[in-house]
Symmetry: none
Subunit: 225 residues, 2 copies
C-alpha cells in the first residue's frame, strides 16, 4: 500500500467525528470501556463497537478484556502524542474566565468535569479531605469521610461495596488538571443533583449550578463560582 494511501486511511480513521470524540476521551491515558466511550461520544453501543473495531484494526487502539467489559486504550504513546498535537490546533480563544466563575460545568460520563470540577477537587485536596496517594488513586482522609457524610455520601460504605474504581483522578484535557472521577465522583454528582445544587441539561453534558448550589459550595469548600 502506498504511503500516501496509508496516511489518508489513517486520517480518515481519526477524522470521523464519533471516532475523534472517543479518541479525545482517551487522551488522559485511561483505559475506558466500550460503553463509556460510546456514552461520551454520543453514539449507540453498536456504532461505537464498529468504530472501536476499526481503530483497533488500525493499531491505534488496543483492547483488553476484563470480565464482561472491554477496556480500550491507545496502542502506543505516539498515538496520544499525535492527538495532543491535533488538539493543540484548536483555537483556544474561548477558554474565558476560569477564575471569573461560571455557573456552568459539564459532566464527564457520570461525574462533574471542567474547571468547576477541578476547582472543587483542588479545594478538597487543599483542605486535606482528599489526598492523591498514587498517580491513579485518591484517598479519602478521616476528615474527608466526615465531610462526605455531611454532604450525604457514605464514602466508606461505598468503597467497600463498589467494585468500580473508587476515587480516580480524571484528567481533564481542556483544563490540564485532575478532577474527581470514579465511583465517588459519580456519587457526588448524583448527590449534588439530588440536592438541586446543580441541574443537568437535556441532551447535553452541560450542568448548571443553581444559586443555592453556588452558596453551599462556597460555604462548605470556599469555592466561589
Amino acid at each position: 500500500m502506498d504511503v500516501d494511501t496509508e496516511f489518508t486511511t489513517l486520517t480518515a480513521l481519526i477524522g470521523e467525528p464519533t471516532r475523534a470524540r472517543m479518541l479525545l476521551q482517551l487522551l488522559d491515558g485511561r483505559a475506558l470501556t466500550a460503553g463509556e466511550l460510546a456514552c461520551h461520544a454520543n453514539a449507540s453501543p453498536q456504532a461505537a463497537s464498529g468504530h472501536l473495531g476499526k481503530l483497533v484494526a488500525a493499531e491505534l487502539l488496543a483492547v483488553e478484556s476484563q470480565g464482561r467489559h472491554r477496556y480500550y486504550r491507545f496502542a502506543r504513546p505516539e498515538v496520544a502524542d499525535a492527538l495532543e498535537a491535533l488538539a493543540s490546533l484548536v483555537p483556544t480563544k474561548q477558554q474565558p474566565a476560569p477564575t471569573s466563575g461560571s455557573r456552568y460545568a459539564r459532566s464527564c460520563y457520570d461525574h462533574l468535569a471542567g474547571h468547576v470540577a477541578v476547582a472543587i477537587t483542588q479545594a478538597l485536596c487543599q483542605r486535606e479531605l482528599l489526598t492523591l496517594t498514587t498517580a491513579k488513586e485518591f484517598t479519602v482522609t478521616n476528615a474527608g469521610t466526615a465531610w462526605f457524610t455531611d454532604l450525604g455520601i457514605d464514602a466508606k460504605m461505598m468503597q467497600q461495596r463498589s467494585r468500580r474504581a473508587f476515587a480516580r483522578p480524571c484528567l481533564d484535557w481542556s483544563e490540564r488538571r485532575h478532577h474527581l472521577g470514579g465511583a465517588l465522583g459519580a456519587a457526588m454528582l448524583t448527590r449534588l443533583v439530588a440536592l438541586d445544587w446543580v441541574r443537568r441539561t437535556a441532551n447535553s453534558r452541560l450542568v448548571v449550578f443553581t444559586g443555592e448550589g453556588q452558596r453551599q459550595l462556597y460555604q462548605i469548600l470556599g469555592v466561589r463560582l
Copy 2:
C-alpha cells in the same frame, strides 16, 4: 462552539483523503499553487479549490496571491507539527531523509528556491548588487547591473521588455526568508542551467549544483555551498 465540536470539525477537515494528500504535499514546507496541489492530490481544480478554501477558513492554511497563481502554505508551524506527528503513525518504513546536502536546491515555479537561493539573495543584497526598495520589489543597483551582465543576463533590457514582475522577493516558507523571484529570478535559474552550474532533475523540482557551479558561486558571490 464546544471544544469537542471544534476538535471534531478539525479532524474531519484533515481526515478527508483529498485534503489529507494536499496537506501531506505541503509537509516539506514549500508553498504550492492550487493547481500543483490539485494535481498531486489527484483532484480536479474545482474540487481542490473547494478543499483549500475550507482549510484556509479553518486557519490551517494561509494563501498568498502571486500573479495568477495562489500559493498555499501552512498557516502556522503547529499545523506542520501535528501533521508530522500524524504521519509518524504510519507503520511503514520511512523514506530516506530529505537532502540537507548543500549541493541540492530546488526550484520554486521557475526560479531557484530553498536555502541556497536565500544565501544567494542575501549575498546579492550584502554586496549592494540588489536592494530591497519596497516590501514587494527588489531594485538592481548599477553595480548589480554590471554583475548580472557578467553573468550573461541583461537586467536592464529585461526590465524594460518584460511585463512580468521584474525582481520580486519570494518568501520561502521553509527558510522564512526571501529569495529572488520574478523575471530576474527566472532568468537567473535559466542562465545557471545554461552554464551547467546547476542541473534540473527529472520529475522533481529539485536542482543540483555541479562542482563547477559551486566553485563559480563562491568566486562571484562568496557563497560557499
